[in-house]
Every structure is written in structure tokens, then in C-alpha cells.
């Protein structure tokens, strides 16, 4: 699986309240949710992201609440992948479960500037910065997580496996 896009850069501890403020959690339509993606930090984000971007961030991306609306907002706003130095665990699981690729890359911020064009090869944990002409290492995902992403998320994955209630 390969994804490409321009980098949008954020700092440390980007929390789920700024990714999607509580007041929009009564929305159920992903497209409507996405109109408010990152509103707490940058209200112009949905406009920036609409043609497909890759988020590059520091430590503890997605900390805070369990709201799955956070990765949903990013995915439907046009985010193709999130690369961060580290992730908060519930966000990390939620992103995979809804089919938004997330990769840990410990030095990503020092190698990428806003607007750089990146190509990510998920299987290899490889990030190519085409603007700067360098390759940045990311942590490889375990096989079963890649399978969930390849299937487009946990629901599709479970359906494929034929999971039914006991």
C-alpha cells in the first residue's frame, strides 16, 4: 500500500478535542464531521486537506478522548496518512479500525517541512520525501494491522473473515 500527498505539519500533543471539538460530536455523517477537522488548531485545515495530504506531527498525536470522530474527521477531510513521532493508543487503534494509515516515525519532524511531497510505503515502513530527496524510516506495522488497513478498516476486515456473533 502506497500513499502520497503534501505534508501538513503539527507539533506535540495534538489532542482529539482540537482534531474535532465536542460540539460536533452529535454529527453522524463523516462528510459533515470532516468539515470541522482540526478546527481547534487551524480552521482552514479542511480547505488545505481536500486534495489529499499527509499529516506530520510530534509526540502523542491524538491524545485525549476515545472519540472515533477524530480519525474519521481527518480521513474524510482528505488525510491519507498520519506520520507522528508517537501516537496516543486509542487514537492509534481507532485510525486503523476506520482504515486511516498511521505510522510511527521517531525523527519525522526534523526531516519534513510543510508542503513537502511525501510518499509512504506502508509494508516497508518507508517515507520518501520527494521534495528533499531523502528517505525517512518509520516503524513497520505488524501483518495483521496491515491486513485491516488493506481491507479498508475493521468492519470490512471482519466481514471478509466472516465473523458472526456466536
Amino acid at each position: 500500500m502506497k500513499v502520497s500527498g503534501k505534508a501538513v505539519v503539527f507539533g506535540d500533543n495534538v489532542n482529539t478535542d482540537v482534531i474535532i471539538p465536542s460540539k460536533y460530536l452529535t454529527l453522524l455523517d463523516p462528510v459533515q464531521i470532516a468539515q470541522h477537522a482540526m478546527e481547534g488548531l487551524d480552521p482552514s485545515f479542511p480547505e488545505k486537506a481536500k486534495n489529499g495530504v499527509i499529516i506530520v506531527a510530534g509526540r502523542n498525536f491524538g491524545c485525549g478522548s476515545s472519540r472515533e470522530q477524530a480519525p474519521i474527521a481527518l480521513k474524510y477531510a482528505g488525510v491519507r496518512c498520519v506520520l507522528a513521532e508517537s501516537f496516543a493508543r486509542i487514537f492509534y487503534r481507532n485510525a486503523i479500525n476506520i482504515g486511516l494509515p498511521v505510522l510511527e516515525s521517531p525523527h519525522i519532524r526534523s526531516e519534513v517541512d510543510e508542503g513537502d511531497v511525501l510518499t509512504v510505503t506502508l509494508e516497508e515502513g518507508k517515507v520518501e520525501n520527494e521534495t528533499k530527496g531523502c528517505v525517512i524510516a518509520a516503524l513497520k506495522l505488524p501483518r495483521f494491522i496491515l491486513e485491516i488497513l488493506e481491507d479498508g478498516g475493521l468492519i470490512e476486515h471482519l466481514k471478509k473473515k466472516g465473523v458472526k456473533a456466536p
Partner: protein
């Protein structure tokens, strides 16, 4: 093994587990509220399973925006009720019967020692107060649990917080957990478990233990947990007749590291804007003027918290220009507060008492902040925009500090009032 490892071993049918291993675990209870539940229900329907795995092990709670503050909220509530009816789920805590989900789970006897409980809410880690492994998950994952009753989990390594000593006047478990978060940092326990041990733990009530475990997620932790003792067992036995296995940490259990905390050295603490780990002693930020004070939430909205606040407020008036919002965490607590005369104290002091709900803590309704406003809150998060405007500032503190600050109109060390 330590208690977290033992619970995951039992839940996955293994003799032993080690940190880093991934286990397929059987879930004992699953909880969702009306913010995370509807997405889980949508996803469950997409999976195509006709029935949930066990209708008696699912708890549905309406708490974040109750009673409905908008038509959109009302629609979410309706989705929850309809699902409960379709799937014949008896444990639906509708408006008037419950309160904040984590309080309800504990109060109604759904949390028992040794159990693995997943909740579609980050503060599910609260259940460790009774020796359960509680962890927060998202909605899609909850749909998978609804269908199968199972979940994959990585066995976390555990950080031990060893508490000794006694509390100084006006110092509460909230001050201890804020102090610990300041030391460990907002991502210092990501993917890990936090276990509270030590001689001081036995002196802390179940309510205080819930406050400790509740905020472990603010360090990124997967769960916060305390081995059961007489205090927690007495509580559980008063809440349920159902059986459970008594699981505690072995004396040779392995920890990634241990942080020793002498409670006697902890003064009243406050987490300053806009990070939960931006923690200082209250005396260093005294004088910051406030517009709103909030006492409530799954962190500090229990009877013990309300009693402390009432002690400060009794016979006094809160400062002009300040609004104090008090939100008991459940219907049971609301009733107890009424019977103890606390609600009268609050109302006479000029405080505004709301119905049990997540309310202002969640920033959904019942006490949002305008731009430029400052709030001191007994809740758990002070992120930008958490309680309303992104231009507002939130300070987190204990109920004592919040009540004292409401009286002063500015942030004050509660010890200034306790000498009266």
C-alpha cells in the same frame, strides 16, 4: 505477574502473559455512551451479526448531553434506546436512572475485581479503582466487541506509583494524581498500565481511588489499577451479589519502573492551560482571576467531592462576577447530596446546581466558556477548546481548590479558607 497481567492472562485463557505480547481476550463487560454508541451501532449493523454476543454484558448510558440539548442529541439518544430494545439489552441507563457512565458502572455493580471491561470512552480506566482492568476503545472496535465479545490487546508494561504518608490539610487524591501527571508527563505512560500501591493506598476511599485511576489516561495509560483490599471489597460487596475472582499483584511482580510518592510532601496542585501535565502548586498561580468554577465529572463529581466543596461554601457567598456550576455525577449522588443538605448549601452560596451529566467537562452543554474567560475545574482535561471557546483557559484542581477559588473570585490555595 502484576494484577494487570493476571487479568489479561485470565481473560485470554493463558497461564501467563508478558508485556509486549498480543492476546485475544474475552471481555466481561462492554460500555458505550450516546456519543460513541451510535457510531458503534452503525458499525455493528454493517458487520451483519444478527444479535450481540451477550445482551447482559453490554451497558448503554446516556450521559454526555442529557437531557437532550438539541434535536441532534435527541436523535442520538433515540438510536441508543432503539438498539437496546431491538437487542433486548436490559442495562440501558436512560435519563433519570443513571448519570455519568463511569460512575454508573461502578455504582450499579457492573465493575468487579479481576474483570476485563472495555468502554467506548477514554476514562474507562477509572474501573481499576476496584481492581478491574478497564480500558477505553473506539466505536468501531466496540462494534467488534458487540459482535464477538473479544478484543485483541497488547499486554502493557506497568509503571508502579508507590504512595506513602498521609494527606496534608486540604490535599486530596486529585492533588496526588495531578502531581504524578506532572512528573510522568502527558505521554509518559502511553500503552502502559499504571498500578498504584503502597501504604497510603489503603487510606484512600473508593471515590478517591476512582479519581486516581480516572486520570491515568491523561498520561496515555491503557489502564490505571489498584489491587483489591478491604476497602474496595467492602464497596463491591455492597453493590453486587455476583461472584468474582480475587486477583492481586504477586510480591515478585515485575514493573517497568517505580515512582515513589510521599503524599505528605504534596501541596494543593493545579494543572495550568493548556496541558494536563503543566502542573504547579496552587500557591504559584494564586491571584489568577476566574469567571467560572466547575465541580463535577467522572473525576470529581462524587458525594465526597461535594461534601468538601460544601464545607468551604457553607454560609458564604461566591465572589461577584463568578459563576459556580455544580454537577453531581449520578442520580444516586444527587439524591445523597440532597439528603445531606449539600444542595441547599450550594444554592444559598449562589452556585448553580445542574442535573447529572458530563456537561461542562465535555464542553457539550451546561456551562460553556466564552473567549477570554478563565475557568477552574475539578474535571480532567484543560485542552484548548475543551469547555467551549478555543480562546478560554482552563485550570484543573481539586474540589477544595475550586470551591475556595469560587469564593475568592480568583485562584487561591484552599488552605487560606480552611483556617476560618
Amino acid at each position: 505477574m502484576n494484577i494487570a497481567e493476571k487479568i489479561l492472562a485470565a481473560a485470554s485463557g493463558r497461564e501467563e502473559v508478558k508485556p509486549g505480547e498480543i492476546v485475544e481476550a474475552k471481555v466481561d463487560m462492554a460500555m458505550a455512551n450516546e456519543i460513541t454508541g451510535p457510531l458503534a451501532i452503525q458499525a455493528f449493523k454493517k458487520i451483519g451479526a444478527p444479535r450481540v454476543w451477550d445482551r447482559r454484558r453490554i451497558v448503554l448510558v446516556l450521559d454526555h448531553q442529557v437531557p437532550a440539548d438539541s434535536v441532534r442529541s435527541a436523535e442520538l439518544h433515540k438510536i441508543m434506546r432503539t438498539f437496546a430494545k431491538e437487542q433486548r439489552i436490559p442495562l440501558l441507563y436512560d435519563i433519570g436512572y443513571g448519570g455519568v457512565c463511569h460512575q454508573v458502572m461502578v455504582e450499579k455493580g457492573h465493575v468487579k475485581p479481576g474483570k476485563l471491561i472495555v468502554g467506548a470512552d477514554s476514562h474507562t480506566c477509572t474501573y481499576g479503582a476496584l481492581g478491574a482492568f478497564g480500558t477505553g476503545i473506539g466505536s468501531t472496535e466496540m462494534a467488534g466487541v458487540f459482535a464477538t465479545g473479544e478484543i485483541w490487546l497488547r499486554v502493557p508494561s506497568t509503571i508502579r506509583i508507590d504512595l506513602s504518608g498521609s494527606f496534608l490539610t486540604c490535599v486530596a487524591p486529585k492533588d496526588v494524581i495531578l502531581y504524578v501527571i506532572g512528573k510522568i508527563g502527558a505521554d509518559g505512560a502511553t500503552y502502559k498500565a499504571i498500578e498504584f500501591t503502597g501504604t497510603a493506598i489503603h487510606k484512600i476511599s473508593v471515590s478517591g481511588r476512582m479519581t486516581l485511576c480516572n486520570m491515568t489516561v491523561e498520561m496515555g495509560a491503557k489502564t490505571g489499577i489498584i489491587s483489591p483490599d478491604e476497602v474496595s471489597l467492602a464497596y463491591v460487596e455492597s453493590r453486587t451479589d455476583e461472584s468474582f475472582m480475587l486477583i492481586g499483584s504477586d510480591s515478585d511482580a515485575v514493573y517497568e519502573k517505580t515512582l515513589a510518592v510521599d503524599i505528605e510532601k504534596i501541596e494543593p496542585q493545579v494543572a495550568c492551560p493548556h496541558a494536563v501535565d503543566n502542573v504547579k502548586p496552587v500557591k504559584e498561580v494564586e491571584g489568577v482571576e476566574i469567571n467560572q468554577a466547575f465541580i463535577g465529572s467522572c473525576t470529581n463529581g462524587r458525594l465526597e467531592d461535594l461534601k468538601i466543596a460544601a464545607k468551604f461554601l457553607k454560609g458564604k457567598k461566591i465572589a461577584k462576577g463568578v459563576r459556580l456550576i455544580v454537577t453531581p455525577a449520578s442520580q444516586e449522588i444527587y439524591l445523597q447530596a440532597l439528603q445531606h443538605g449539600l444542595l441547599e448549601v450550594f444554592v444559598k452560596s449562589g452556585a448553580y446546581v445542574c442535573n447529572p451529566t458530563c456537561g461542562a467537562c465535555f464542553g457539550g452543554h451546561m456551562g460553556l466558556l466564552a473567549s477570554g474567560e478563565v475557568c477552574i475545574s475539578s474535571s480532567n482535561r484543560n485542552f484548548v477548546g475543551r469547555m467551549g471557546s478555543p480562546e478560554a483557559e482552563i485550570y484543573l484542581a481539586s474540589p477544595a481548590t475550586v470551591a475556595a477559588s469560587a469564593l475568592a473570585g480568583k485562584i487561591v490555595d484552599p488552605r487560606r479558607f480552611s483556617e476560618d
